[in-house]
Amino acid sequence: MDASSIKSVDGLVDACKKLQKVNGVTHAIAMAKENYFAFIHPFNWGLAVSNDYSNQIKQLERGKISFSNIPTVSQFMKDLDKILPYTNQALDSYDDQISGFAGGKYAMIHQGDWAQSMLDQDKISFDYGMIAFPTGGNTKLSVDISDAWRVNKYATADQQKAAKDFLDWLLTSDKGQTYCADTFQFISSLKGMKSSSSKLGEIVSNAVQSSNTVPWVFNTSSFPNGIDVDGASLMQKYYAKVINSDEFMDQLTQTWRNDATK
């Protein structure tokens, strides 16, 4: 299957139909059930491909609009409706999702380059890679900074200098860069730095180098505290077909406003 031919959700649905006919595949797409994997990462697509997400979220929190009024979110939910019959309804744990992928039960999984170490443990014999979720024709991977290191301004002057020296060594020296790229599998954030050598890491690095990415909206302070728990709960209801995508967007709007006003 040529992954680069999947440029729209309809193309994805066609691919799912073909893949489900393959021997051993139980579901074409698998999501994991943990909060971040079931809700935060997938739902991020709806907001990340919008070019005005922080304003839209602010308006939503002030009660002026709801999620169904945000075109990219409503498009994302329609896309999710289309692929829903081919998913595992986010009923598997992270472990089961990865081992299912390695064992050929799931043709595609919604994950990131952090899953590389688990995939390596499963000794995969086939070729695999990453594509972006093609909501509304999107082809950009969602990449962002997952953690940041700060020098403590309350430390002594010597300690602060030592910390800065360490960071310089980590990013510029050969040994430091080897640690970053090979041991930690970090994607390089600066030009000229060695980047992760893993299979998935290389794909992400290329996307970053060519600026072919969309951000992690949940990384900004736009997502309210507690939405990972509440949103995941609603997402599971949606997957279990207890509520449909319109009800999901309404209830999520209510819950979001609730969590944001605490």
């Binding site: 505290n225 728990v229 709960s233 279990a240 969590d259 605490k262």
Partner: protein, 293 residues
């Protein structure tokens, strides 16, 4: 004071002070602080700039739908668990106090689930309810059983009840055994001579004399059921879309996921008051029915 009396007093305090020190620091002081914090807008970190805001947090807590539904669910869960655990524990105790060869070994076997911590128990049973049930159902071709019990709200609730019952039945069985063995033999023999069969002996002699054991067991199971968290976390983690979220889990999430420490503290105070009232009522009513032989 005489030297001997002073000596005794000294040892009394020497043994008491370490335990009292820990108790005051780990239980009493945080408890009082918690009640104070629940009336302020404490942000969970520095208390320095928190303002006194009266009962605002309590109003927030009572208007939180998830809190109220967790409360209802916890009451349901506690009542069902108390009844099941005590019935099963009592019958197990009756069984192992009969005179047969393996009665002592059976006592150990029935008690063992209690030794496994709730968290580990949840993980083991999670495997059983999700993968093993599907396997059994498919092998025996019983389609009504072969689904993942943790994916439906109803069966997830009952799997939580089953695991708690499995864990606590052995513990209450031990207390019932002690209670059964303390019934004076002559009263039972006198009743037997007078013509009472075993059911009548059970109803009119054994049960009334066992009331102290009932008081203790009902209290223990009731307070443990209300405080249930670790098995809830590892077995269902709030279950399919938040339908098996018990009170302790709701309070934990309000504090650490929603970052709402002051409201969580208010919920915790309400939680304490509920458990205190329920268990005090229970002990009062069952103590009144205790009789002497």
């Amino acid at each position: 004071m005489k030297p001997h009396a002073l000596h005794k007093n000294l040892y009394f305090w020497l043994f008491l002070i370490p335990a009292l020190f820990f108790f005051i620091n780990v239980v009493i002081i945080p408890f009082i602080l918690g009640i104070v914090y629940s009336f302020t807008n404490w942000n969970g970190f520095q208390f320095l700039n928190s303002k006194f805001i009266g009962t605002y947090n309590y109003k927030q807590a009572f208007s939180d739908k998830a809190f109220l539904s967790s409360m209802g669910l916890t009451f349901e869960y506690a009542i069902i668990t108390v009844i099941l655990v005590n019935i099963i524990g009592f019958f197990l105790a009756l069984l192992v106090t009969r005179k047969f060869k393996s009665s002592h070994a059976l006592r150990a076997v029935f008690f063992m689930p209690n030794l496994i911590g709730g968290l580990l128990l949840g993980f083991i049973w999670q495997f059983i309810f999700s993968k093993f049930m599907v396997f059994i159902g498919q092998s025996l071709k019983i389609s009504s059983l072969s689904f993942n019990w943790l994916n439906e709200p109803n069966s997830a609730f009952w799997s939580l009840v089953i695991v708690s019952t499995w864990q606590m039945a052995g513990y209450v069985m031990i207390i019932y055994i002690a209670g059964l063995q303390s019934i004076p033999r002559d009263v039972l023999e006198a009743a037997q001579i007078d013509g009472a069969n075993s059911m009548q002996r059970l109803r009119h002699i054994v049960l009334p004399l066992m009331m102290p054991s009932f008081t203790v067991n009902l209290f223990i199971v009731l307070s443990n059921a209300f405080k249930q968290y670790d098995t809830n976390l590892s077995l269902t983690n709030g279950g399919p879309y938040g339908t098996t979220q018990l009170l302790a889990m709701n309070i934990y999430q309000t504090a650490f996921s929603h970052n709402n420490y002051a409201v969580a503290q208010a919920k915790a105070v309400i939680f304490f008051l509920i458990i205190m009232v329920v268990t005090l009522l229970q002990v009062h009513f069952t103590s009144k029915r205790e009789v002497e032989a």
